[in-house]
Symmetry: C2
Subunit: 244 residues, 2 copies
């Protein structure tokens, strides 16, 4: 069996295989939660040795796209890293779960993006975006406010829903509603001040310092799918990172 993906034939075989399979995951041919073909099947299908198949799978496992289960099979991992964002306002490190913040969508409309948003999402000049405004409440009562922008081309459906039809966890919701899967993200923290709607929604005086977390979330193909700015009060804010 030939490799169909358009990868450079000078690349190592295992690389080309893992590229091929990445494409299958990205396209949805291999669905999150499902098992991929067994090593034996892949070996036979592509006419390569097991070791090569294993090495290709290794790559995708290391990238967090696949998950092996001895005796069961190899599965497409559902990127579940929304959980990792509970570093946001986490009270104490490793203090156990604290549940999903309450979530209230304030608005969901299609708009023309600002230059900043267009740049962050790498949009063409005339592309529209879906703009969500959201208020979240952590268990301890702290709130934060989010502006979320998504390319209308892929996410227009979100503008057609009622605000109360949204799930508190957006990433699985994007997948269910729009077939778009968030695979990675980059966050930038800074300190800002509350103004206008932010101040009002967070019940803070104008100009109060806030923590600001800016996030660009991307799909498997590294294309930006979501640009998000979250702001919340500084008290009790904690953000924890491991570095190697």
């Amino acid at each position: 069996m030939k490799i169909t993906s358009s990868s450079d034939s000078r690349l190592p075989l295992y690389q080309r295989l893992s590229d091929e399979w990445l494409a299958k995951i990205a396209s949805g041919e291999w669905q999150p939660g499902e098992a991929i073909p067994t090593e034996a099947e892949l070996t036979q299908h592509y006419g390569v040795a097991v070791g090569t198949v294993r090495k290709a799978i290794d790559c995708l496992v290391n990238d967090g796209l696949l998950e092996r289960n001895q005796g069961r099979g190899t599965f497409v991992r559902r990127p579940q890293f929304d959980a990792s964002f509970f570093r946001f306002f986490r009270q104490l490190p490793a203090t156990g779960e604290q549940g999903i913040p309450e979530s209230h969508i304030l608005s969901n409309r299609i708009t023309a993006p600002s230059a900043t948003v267009r740049h962050a999402l790498e949009l063409d000049a005339d592309e529209k975006v879906v703009h969500l405004k959201r208020l979240r409440t952590i268990r301890n009562g702290r709130r934060f406010y989010e502006d979320i922008w998504l390319p209308a081309k892929a996410f227009h459906r979100l503008a057609e829903l009622q605000p109360d039809e949204f799930d508190p966890l957006l990433y699985p919701f994007y997948e269910a509603q729009c077939g778009q899967i968030i695979a990675s993200a980059q966050e930038t923290l800074s300190i800002s001040t509350a103004h206008d709607e932010v101040a009002e929604r967070l019940q803070l005086a104008e100009g109060t310092p806030t923590v600001r977390v800016e996030r660009i979330a991307r799909g498997y193909n590294r294309k930006p799918l979501e640009y998000r700015i979250a702001q919340g009060p500084t008290e009790g804010f904690r953000y924890q990172i491991d570095i190697n």
Copy 2:
């Protein structure tokens, strides 16, 4: 050749090998910057197949401890992640290098640790610490103030030096002076306020909000080697993280 490290013999061979080699790196038997024995030598020495040696090396490469160079050899990597801390006060993402912040040691003394410090460094009840106070200045003139605590047992030499003998990059300096190598770290960001010496050194009014970065840095064996609290003004603060 037998494996000398005390690893559980139920573990896979490649695991035991990589544990063994990790110990060699941690103990300094394999020095940073130097090449480790070739795959052929290791294969013969331990009486295992190349594939197994390669897999063991893979583990250490993935953990960032070794670095392969085709045609040259496999080298012990000098953990150089101080650079990654230039996310701290980085002005714009990927705006190019900004050099090493100027650094001024204000004091270096042996003291009895507070309960917090003792806990962070996992010290016994009567253990002492070296306490460094440091003021750093970024190229753009912004300053931040650091308290740094290290177990006196391994770092007492730092208390015997003159403040101006310290290098601006502490981690290579620890290695050179005390033979201690920092391998990983955990940081926690929060928002605090400036008081006393911090306020004075940063020339901020008492109670001004500050960014606070708390760090526990560990050696190869995961034992805490350094506890550090950095505080700086909130303006211009940016901290960027990639998440997968």
